[in-house]
Symmetry: C2
Subunit: 260 residues, 2 copies
């Protein structure tokens, strides 16, 4: 059976995260039920990254096996027809049967949005962290600079997770202001559990003057979660994009289309 | 008792409009209950304009009587403390006891947002009308040009409403594109029931090539609601700002503060 990958965006506000859970509505469950309905057969999906409760995605990537009854370019429209309004498929393509959205991801982009207006903006409340106090972005940028490159990010990994390696590469961390919105954009080889929210929470403490920018280096070296700041709230986080090596992405087993 | 005006923003998605209704949650009811809780006495509010179910506001203005126990500049923070997250007070000020947010409004600004991307943007779905087809903004702007100035806008008033005069002045109607978002901004002396949504729906038909821009003039002259297009959906509409004559706005009965 052919394998497909699809780019999915979602408003995570009303979901208990991506991964299927007992007695809680998750993104995965809704997508799997929609694919099952669309193809008339039980379909499971694998994501590029599991997002927590309340976290959003503009470019989550999922992989799934399905019969080639719907042309790949028609899959988004067909799938959107059965998905609820807060989950939208943006693209789909045939991939090799061994394609894994998670393992083969080369880079991921996450954004974190802060509503830095005095009173919360009602239209951003689902998608941002409201911080009414003044933030010193220069200090935050200086702090962020200490995190760039290949490091052991263990200090920014939330406890309860056990991974072989906690070394990741942070290619860039941009901090920009658009009106009263402050946006942090993370580009990395991969991210540990709650790493973006833990770094953001720590950088906000730097922006508020509660910590010095150079502390980021010390926290990194400590490899101790207790040294870093509190995790920023889920609502501000969005999985923006997952990048795959171009050649892998194009790999398709076209003989399947002929066989079916 | 002193009178106050307050600027209120709200995400109207989960409400049955502004005005109190039986068995349906409304913005007015929630604000009145919050003010009643805050001041410990039954408080009624009057809005600058009633918004329909699903319509939003960034700058709704309300008027209410309350004892001068909270300094005017502290009212927003105090009121936000009792309001739910989708209704936010942005400002408050003492006004004359005869101040009417509706009658004394000199101008109102409404925006209408269209998500013109092929697949709906999940983060805009609560605040826009998704139109995947290509829109010719030049044609829409040409059509809008016919509506500027003082006219009888009866053809764009939804039926079921009886007003003495249906003459209004449309000072400007700007149509701009920001990425895949198309925004129409209406500046007028006042707006008839569903006027912005009826004009927007008609202009969209012009943008889609279903009507000619010059038809707007004929529709206006016909004074017949049947000639105009369908009303645009509520989600895209937002009451942006209400403008009052400056001198009126500043009028305060300061002796009240001394008396109490």
């Amino acid at each position: 059976m052919p394998k497909y990958k699809a780019i999915i965006s979602y408003d995570g506000t009303d979901y208990h995260g991506f991964q299927v859970q007992l007695n809680a509505l998750t993104i995965q469950e809704v997508i799997e039920k929609s694919l099952t309905k669309l193809y008339g057969r039980k379909t499971r999906v694998e994501p590029a990254g599991r997002t927590d409760a309340g976290v959003h995605a503009r470019g989550q990537v999922i992989g799934f096996f399905a019969p080639p009854v719907i042309p790949e370019k028609k899959i988004p429209l067909a799938l959107n027809g059965v998905l609820p309004g807060d989950i939208v498929t943006l693209d789909a393509a045939r991939v090799g049967e061994h394609f894994s959205p998670r393992r083969e991801a080369e880079k991921k982009f996450y954004s974190y949005s802060i509503d830095n207006s005095f009173f919360p903006d009602v239209f951003w409340r689902r998608y941002s962290w409201h911080i009414p106090q003044s933030l010193d972005l220069q200090r935050m940028k200086e702090g962020a600079g200490h995190l760039l490159g290949k490091h052991d990010f263990k200090a920014f990994q939330s406890t309860g997770t056990f991974l072989k390696s906690t070394v990741r590469t942070l290619f860039s961390l941009e901090i920009e202001q658009h009106g009263s919105l402050v946006r942090l954009t993370y580009e990395g080889s991969g991210f540990l559990y709650k790493m973006v929210r833990n770094i953001t929470g720590t950088l906000v403490e730097v922006g508020l003057g509660k910590r010095e920018p150079q502390e980021l280096q010390k926290i990194l070296q400590s490899k101790d979660r207790q040294q870093a700041g509190e995790a920023a709230p889920a609502a501000g986080l969005c999985l923006e994009k997952v990048v795959y090596p171009a050649e892998r992405e194009e790999l398709k087993l076209d003989w399947w289309e002929l066989m079916y």
